[in-house]
Symmetry: C2
């Protein structure tokens, strides 16, 4: 019952595909069945199902099957993990810029 830890590798890979980002965009509007998602994409239902699997293990989408229809909706967990990753790395990167500024200041003092 333990949720698998979010793999940032998988997350970036999932978001790196335009079709998957299109799926996410549509799901931001409203939850949708697999075939409703497939309709405007110009690829087979099977392909969409495969994309959905990737989005699901990346915690970007949650799906649930009722009767013969699988309903897909946005799952916040993945987005949150991504935001956290960027926030963390931005601080490291800003620190580097600060240090670069210090180095430049020191350089100025030297002459």
């Amino acid at each position: 019952m333990k949720a698998p830890p979010i793999d940032i590798d998988r997350l970036f890979h999932a978001l790196g595909d335009p079709t998957r980002r299109a799926i996410l965009d549509r799901l931001c509007e409203r939850p949708m069945s697999v075939s409703a998602l497939a309709a405007p994409l110009g690829i087979t239902l099977t392909a969409v199902a495969q994309h959905l699997q990737i989005l699901e293990i990346s915690a970007l989408v949650h799906t649930e099957k009722l009767g013969r229809v699988r309903t897909c909706r946005i799952e916040p967990t993945g987005f949150t993990a991504l935001e956290r990753w960027i926030r963390d790395h931005r601080t490291v990167w800003e620190r580097r810029l600060d240090r670069l500024g210090e180095l430049l200041a020191e350089g100025d003092e030297q002459h």
Copy 2:
């Protein structure tokens, strides 16, 4: 002389590789030559150079060759583009959550 537009596809793809993220982490500490980057990675210099090309066209790294040494440093542009993408999509996604809340509220009113 026009900088190519940031391709969010390329950006996610670039960040989807653990070796490339390791390179970025090291460059956050300080600028570095290609061979300095390669040393702890356990892959050939050629492979590192290939990764650097990908990071460079994604605007995550800037490199400059002086003499025989190519120095690599973090380039903010790519990170900024990524942050903007996430900020934009978070608002869409939050709107969806709001609407879901409204729908639930309406549902409550109905009985």
